[in-house]
């Protein structure tokens, strides 16, 4: 029996991978670029907007990178 193998190139990206990568982009870009407490407020409610010196935790944690990457801040 002769076995041959064939290499085919497919550039169709499975929908699951598209969804996963777009979600990763949206989530990370928002967290570092714009979050003022919105993300944690899903669990913590309104307190999330002021929990760290009067502002959101993620805002303070990502703060330096937010400025350094060109996002609007204070």
């Amino acid at each position: 029996m002769v076995q041959t193998s064939q290499i085919t190139k497919t550039h169709a990206v499975p929908i699951i991978a598209v969804v996963a990568l777009l979600a990763l982009f949206g989530m990370g870009y928002f967290m570092v670029g714009f979050d003022q407490g919105q993300l944690f407020s899903i669990v913590q409610g309104h307190a999330a907007y002021t929990q760290m010196n009067g502002v959101g935790y993620l805002h303070e944690m990502t703060h330096d990178m937010r400025h350094a990457s060109g996002f609007p801040c204070h």
């Binding site: 991978a17 990502t62 330096d64 990178m65 350094a68 204070h74």
Partner: protein
């Protein structure tokens, strides 16, 4: 497509590029941020909102150490996020991209996405160090920034379709994008905040921050292109 291989190389390359950005940021950009925050502290003392004493400086330095550690995490998150989009677009556009190999193709795409998502928006809304932005306008500035990036991205997507359809005179697609973005540039409102820190600080910060973001895009492209070549996630071996 080998889905898991594809996802892993995309995420790893974005994450590593993000870490490179983080460490360049600590070494090169943080001195400017510290400088700007120093000006901010002096204003707090002058306005009586804080006391210039050892207790203040102790708390302040602990807080800044925490924020700098946070910025390393944030760089990795941002790198992974932009790298995810970059890898996805690379998978769709690889065949159409010019270049002899995957690294060259990835570098071409990184150049385009860097301009569309980062540098053209930067020209309209340049990065500012701390203390420049007014808290009252931050929502307005965030919305206008996102709107500008979205318009730039949609414009690039639209004109890339036209680019594919054009048999010759493909440069018309670039021209079309340039005209479209010029209109967006003039129609979108300015950043309303006045700049109240020395211009050497502003210019130095903007230059070095743009350099580090640019290096992180290049790093992402080189790593993704290299991993793509090595693992070929888009090739499927079928035995017959």
């Amino acid at each position: 497509m080998k889905t898991l291989t594809f996802l892993i190389i995309v995420i790893v390359s974005g994450f590593l590029a993000g870490l490179v950005h983080s460490f360049l940021n600590i070494a090169l950009v943080e001195p400017y941020l510290d400088n700007a925050i120093g000006i901010e502290n002096q204003r707090l003392f002058a306005q009586g909102q804080a006391q210039d004493n050892s207790q203040f400086w102790k708390q302040f330095s602990d807080y800044r150490i925490w924020q700098k550690q946070g910025s390393i995490v944030a760089g990795a998150i941002l790198g992974t996020a932009t790298g995810a989009l970059f890898g996805l677009v690379f998978a769709y556009s690889r065949n159409a991209l010019p270049g002899q190999n995957d690294v060259q193709k990835a570098l071409v795409l990184a150049g385009i996405m860097w301009a569309v998502l980062y540098f053209i928006p930067f020209l309209k809304y340049p990065a500012n160090p701390p203390t420049v932005g007014e808290p009252d306008t931050v929502t307005f500035r965030a919305l206008t920034y996102v709107a500008f990036v979205a318009l730039s991205s949609l414009g690039a997507l639209g004109f890339s379709r036209i680019y594919k359809k054009l048999e010759n005179k493909k440069f018309l697609a670039f021209l079309g994008y340039a005209v479209f973005m010029s209109i967006v540039f003039f129609v979108m409102p300015q950043n309303p905040d006045p700049i109240k820190v020395p211009s050497e600080l502003i210019n130095g910060f903007r230059t070095i921050s743009a350099v580090t973001v640019t290096i992180s895009w290049l790093t992402n492209a080189i790593i993704l292109g290299w991993l793509w070549k090595k693992f070929q996630p888009d090739s499927v071996t079928t035995r017959t």
